[in-house]
Assembly symmetry: none
Amino acid sequence: MGKIDLNKKKKREALLNTAFELFTTQGLHQTTINNIVERAGVAKGTFYLYFKDKYDIRNKLIAHKASRIFSIADEALAKTDLTELEDRIIFLADNIIEQFNADKSLLLFISKNLSWGIFKQELISSGDDSDVDFYNIYKILENSPKAYKNPEILLFMIVEFVSSTCYSSILYNEPKGIEELKPYLFDAIRQLIKSQEIVPRE
Amino acid sequence: MGKIDLNKKKKREALLNTAFELFTTQGLHQTTINNIVERAGVAKGTFYLYFKDKYDIRNKLIAHKASRIFSIADEALAKTDLTELEDRIIFLADNIIEQFNADKSLLLFISKNLSWGIFKQELISSGDDSDVDFYNIYKILENSPKAYKNPEILLFMIVEFVSSTCYSSILYNEPKGIEELKPYLFDAIRQLIKSQEIVPRE
Amino acid sequence: MGKIDLNKKKKREALLNTAFELFTTQGLHQTTINNIVERAGVAKGTFYLYFKDKYDIRNKLIAHKASRIFSIADEALAKTDLTELEDRIIFLADNIIEQFNADKSLLLFISKNLSWGIFKQELISSGDDSDVDFYNIYKILENSPKAYKNPEILLFMIVEFVSSTCYSSILYNEPKGIEELKPYLFDAIRQLIKSQEIVPRE
Amino acid sequence: MGKIDLNKKKKREALLNTAFELFTTQGLHQTTINNIVERAGVAKGTFYLYFKDKYDIRNKLIAHKASRIFSIADEALAKTDLTELEDRIIFLADNIIEQFNADKSLLLFISKNLSWGIFKQELISSGDDSDVDFYNIYKILENSPKAYKNPEILLFMIVEFVSSTCYSSILYNEPKGIEELKPYLFDAIRQLIKSQEIVPRE
DNA sequence: TATGAATGAGGGTTCATTCAT
DNA sequence: CATGAATGAACCCTCATTCAT
């Protein structure tokens, strides 16, 4: 990669990082393009060389951040020797929860955007933005030795359940802090999975 | 109430109704104060006699609409003769889901705002805006003959679970339409409740 | 008219006058809304209360200025006792030429805009902007005792002929100054009119 | 001409052609340098190697296109055996009108720019851009056996008369389409010429 | 010569808010 | 209480121009 291309990548990343920082601290609508370019140290016009508008950079950030979260969780899972499906899913959930817990602004940002819509979209349109990695997670259910009534719905329910309860708990400690909530959460997830299990006739 | 007071109330309500209509059809940020007062048939300055700004009227709308949803559900429940807790909660969930299903813009508007934050807040600060009515629902769990490990967490989990799954299902039919999803949902709720039940030693 | 309405009219006129001044001295594209409001002494937003955009104010100016020119010429004609059609038309042409000659920026501004398009449009849509007065001129031909092959085309040719030759002559003295050109011009107009005359059989 | 020089000429012409295409389809102010270089397939900086700015390329285009129009008309005239001055001028006018009629965007572009200013300028500064050819036309009048009061003014009046009436007629069919207008036009031109003729005493 | 990334002044426009009436 | 004309800061975005490569 030449000097110019390197510089371009640097500029793009400066913009992404700055935007993320401002979005998470001030909110999307309070953040202006002016704010972003000023702090990123580039000219206003430069922003428009890399992104169509504020919403474009927002979407690219969400996709990028969300996929990173799943990647990290998946990589951590690979290093364990968990075999039971329930255990694996709860490991993932726990890992993701901890990522959010460690970086609350991240949760605030992708917060309720990290819902099924994006999840599913990313699952399908892999590749476009390089490094998306939801597919591994999806495979977990399909490759399980046990069968489930409707794996997609099950996964959907778990994702929605975890993400929406975390939001309130981590950001506002409502109704309880995340550590206190976890046992209930994981218990509930196990119940959810079990309730969808197809028990083979003996 | 005097003629003047009546007129005042009428203006306030015209503003609220118009704002709701515009917020749900155009979105919050696309709606301007101008739009609101124009369609409501009052002068621009008048808006500021009743509301601090756009966010003020938004918040008042959310609280008002959310409480109405719960009231309706609760009233419907009172007309049944259901006694089992699980049945009663599922009846409420179903009723609320159907309200959202019938008025999708309503769901879009209070969407993810109807989370625990508001729920809890309204539960506590009863009265302020006259007609809030979450308390009845809260009593359901407390008055149940069975005991639950942590009623508040249980209720929290149910609310979050239902609201976040509905959102995707009703608005985007993802991963399935609401009718197809319901059995899974209700099943999951029952499991949730059971998992939190304190089984008395015999 | 109340104090407020008077003030409004004053603002509107300040904007129109300033815009005309700037358009004629700097050109349309070199004139910015900023320039206009600054010099007119009103806030930027105020401009948009009265005009849609720069082109809106331009069009309103052209229509207004053009109609004034014809009005003045027509009024002057009424004070003469000319009866011959040729004489009357040449009187009008001369009067208009002199108006342009006295105010070259006016000519530059409505310059080639004062062509048949606007002329005709104004002839038809009388009233809209109050004081348009082309109709009197049109009547001249129709009420003439002599008949012409096609009065509209004749009028069209005269208007285009005069306006385009004036432009070059008055503004650039090309190929000759207007005073030197006039005899040729008026001669040509007389020829034009005669060539379209329908000679009655005796 | 070397390979490099050829390449240079190619680039310059690509820019000219593209600019003309965009100016005539989108208008001068809607066309950006970006548009031009993009479609011409050259880099942005390259534009500035050949032209000072947008107005520079516009002017060069007008001169070039206008001279082509006269050249074509003149060449066509040379192939006829018309001898009478009136016939020759009307032949030229007709030919030019038909060129405009066949390519209305061309008329729109050089439209009212093709007035005496440019005409005269090109007449004098022959050579600069190689292929200008107004001079032939000018000679027509001078070489005529008949004498005219002021040949330059006569030519001026004809050019202005034809160009301004055509504009409205061809582009807007106002007040009549060009075919219907032509007889009147040509009639008027003949009258113009005759009125300027110096009749020799017998 | 040729490139195209970077610039940044300045464009048009919006709109929440004020305040004299 | 109610009005709505006026405000002007701030918005997003464009684009001619430069200059290091």
